[in-house]
Amino acid sequence: MSAVLPRPPVLPGPIEWLRANLFSNIPNALLTVVALYLIWRYLPPFVNWVFIDAIWRAPSSTACRAAAEAGACWAFIDEKHRFILFGTYPFEEHWRPGVATLLFLALYAVSAMRRFWRPWLALVWLAGLALIGILMWGGVFGLSYVENERWGGLVLTLILATFGIVFAFPLSILLALGRRSEMPVVRSFCVIYIELIRGVPLISLLFMASVVMPLFLPSGVTVDKLLRAQIALILFSAAYLAEVVRGGLQAIPRGQYEAAEALGLSFGKRTVLIILPQALKISIPPLVNTFIGLFKDTSLVVIIGLFDLLLALKTAINEPAWSGVGVEAYLFASLVYFAFCYAMSQYSQRLERDLSRGPVARALKDT
């Protein structure tokens, strides 16, 4: 009989944990000490500034700073949140962009759930976006008309980002497929498009969209500034996404194409049923990376004078009453952007896990 060794303890005690993770060798121990020092030195003052000494209500930044040991002036956000969220939208109509923002959030939430990934989800989106359009523009159902020059704040950021992703993503799939096409005309067009667009900064595209494009339109035809910026954003993101999708397509082994061909599936069916599901799944991390980039890139529309979240904040801190609250304003903006981007990132990680675990779970259930 061979000796049965006792299984080593599964959960080591706190001392063992510390030794294994924080003090395993001298460099590690040094890093731990330095990190602890930095935390001890800077964290308490930061917490003080952000929470404990913060001024939550005040009529102006001077009032904020009047208090001894004054911390962050969150009163600024409190006073200006309507402007930050809704920009120059008529004040008494703020409920409209408010509801539109909530509608966006609801659409995201519904789409995040895989059991709703059914064809009718497209209709839900169509209805949702139509409703958002009606709310924002008005002019019907007794709502007063609000031209989109006056839209702004968070809702504008959400509009640009959402339409950006919803249109750029399918376009990017077509571009990626086109780049791999055997038809020289299609392939060259896609290559030239992707390389040209990726080769210029988004800012210059936005400038071109706002300054150059009107010169080429026949007189009398006007495309409004928001739409032009939106188109520039879509075209720009599509080029980047196309390369991400192409990377996914390249990872699919030849045998998958051949097996699908041998079964008599046409090009379209092969692509939609066999290739894209696999290619997009492995592209989730870089896709979400690009989506996050797109979300933040929407802030560049300030360049052409669109009143997004960031420009609204900037305008607000330029008011004499609120001078000197730049740090608070930009921290707040970062927090809003971070909330959305972090949510996207977390969701993509969960999706990846579900997609690779789902099959196994389903199979185990059946055995």
Binding site: E258, L273, P359
Partner: protein, 254 residues
């Protein structure tokens, strides 16, 4: 073989006439001709790189031939997309590396083409799929994904997937070469059963036991040419060419 034009009552299932194929400047097939009648079983063998895969991949247009003529069940294999799709519906293919669709269950692998190409109802496709999984002896694996199956099981699912299109011809390209030895038999058994049911088959394989049991004809290829064709009995007992003798001594030797 100059009676090809005459509509024979028992016309050939596959007719390859004087076909050549180049990859760039390299000629992979040189004036190859082959005729496979309905219900016949051909085993193709030959050294690696001799053009076996290329030849059978021409039959369902996974490769395109530059000269010569190929007919499958009376349809010419040419650039016409409709004709190619018609041929692919009639010709099933099994690959060395299985090529199952990893994002679909075994059952979904089987029902996909019948539903989307043959426009079969989902119910009918699933019934047929289950029937075929029984036939390849793995009905209990229906809801597993390819990644959860052994190589032998995957290859049997791949055979069933091809059969789900109710093909008239089955092409096999070294179906057991990627398998561990203990799994080869389970796949060959399925293929023997299929042969006994009367399927027309072209099988590239070095499994000479299988060739003896099943084949009507052995085709020996070397350097892009069909060097020798004959019944297994003749081929194994008395290969006519030195190249075939050498090849046989190499694969049967030890």
């Amino acid at each position: 073989m100059n009676d090809a034009a005459r509509p024979a009552p028992q016309g050939p299932m596959i007719e390859i006439q004087g076909v050549s194929k180049w990859f760039g400047d390299f000629q992979a097939l040189k004036n190859v001709s082959l005729r496979v009648g309905k219900g016949q079983k051909f085993v193709v063998c030959g050294p690696s790189g001799s053009g076996k895969s290329t030849m059978i991949r021409l039959i369902n247009r996974l490769e395109r031939h530059e000269s010569g003529r190929i007919m499958v069940d009376g349809i010419e294999v040419a650039d016409d997309v409709k004709a190619i799709e018609a041929i692919r519906r009639e010709v099933g293919m099994v690959f060395q590396s299985f090529n199952l669709f990893p994002h679909l269950t075994a059952l979904e692998n089987l029902t996909l083409a019948p539903i989307w190409v043959r426009r079969t109802s989902k119910q009918a496709a699933e019934d047929l799929a289950m029937e075929l999984l029984v036939r390849v002896h793995i009905p209990e694996q229906a809801h597993k994904y390819p990644g959860q199956l052994s190589g032998g099981q995957q290859q049997r699912v791949a055979i069933a997937r091809a059969l789900a299109m109710r093909p008239k011809v089955m092409l096999f390209d070294e179906p057991t070469s990627a398998l561990d030895p203990e799994m080869i038999k389970e796949v060959l058994d399925v293929m023997i059963e299929l042969a006994e049911e009367g399927m027309t088959m072209v099988v590239v394989t070095h499994e000479m036991g299988f060739a003896r049991t099943v084949a009507d004809n052995i085709v020996f290829m070397d350097q892009g040419e069909i060097v020798e064709t004959g019944t297994p009995k003749d081929f194994f007992a008395a290969p006519k060419t030195d190249r075939a003798k050498l090849f046989l001594s190499q694969i049967l030797g030890h």
